[in-house]
């Protein structure tokens, strides 16, 4: 899958997809990602099993992540270069969002 198509299909990224890829800042397996997401969101976000394994399968199919190691009871994934490009793109979008939050937040107080 070409990178333009990937960006189109994955933007705007859901919070779930974003935190899964963020967790792959280092190689991790599904369950490890669930725990890492809980950690960085202070237990706010708890991913369901259907979410994590479904998303990982889809992301691997699309070339955003790849199998790093397949241990007996752990499938460890890492992010690909296309996945990193996608994340940089998404982080730019989040920056825009943050700027607009700062600009308009007074209207909602």
């Amino acid at each position: 899958m070409i990178i333009e198509q990937i960006i189109k299909n994955y933007s705007p990224m859901t919070e779930t997809a974003f935190y899964i890829l963020l967790s792959l800042s280092k190689p991790r397996h599904g369950y490890g990602i669930i725990k890492h997401v809980e950690e960085v969101t202070n237990n706010r976000l708890k991913l369901g099993s259907g979410t994590i394994y479904g998303t990982l399968t889809k992301m691997e199919r699309d070339g955003i992540i790849t199998m790093y190691a397949d241990e007996k009871r752990k499938k460890i994934y890492e992010i690909t270069d296309d996945g990193k490009t996608l994340m940089r793109h998404e982080m730019k979008r989040l920056n825009e969002l943050y700027v607009n939050v700062a600009k308009y937040k007074g209207a909602f107080e």
Copy 2:
């Protein structure tokens, strides 16, 4: 609809829902929201008609927004107090996201 239920149902907010509510920092009608979203996102985000009118109907039903004026060809909406509470909640979440972007962005360069 009670505020806890609203927050649960609308979190995490989609980018679309967020920019619609952000546009209601002042009273606006559907088409005006579409144009305002294009403006604040530098033409990146163009809401489809199905998105805007469907979302506005749903938000009004849930008490997040309310009819401000019903002119001949313009239905103008404004955000309610519950809608403002929801936005403050969402903005807090976006802050968390932004902090994590800053923390991990080096891993994707």
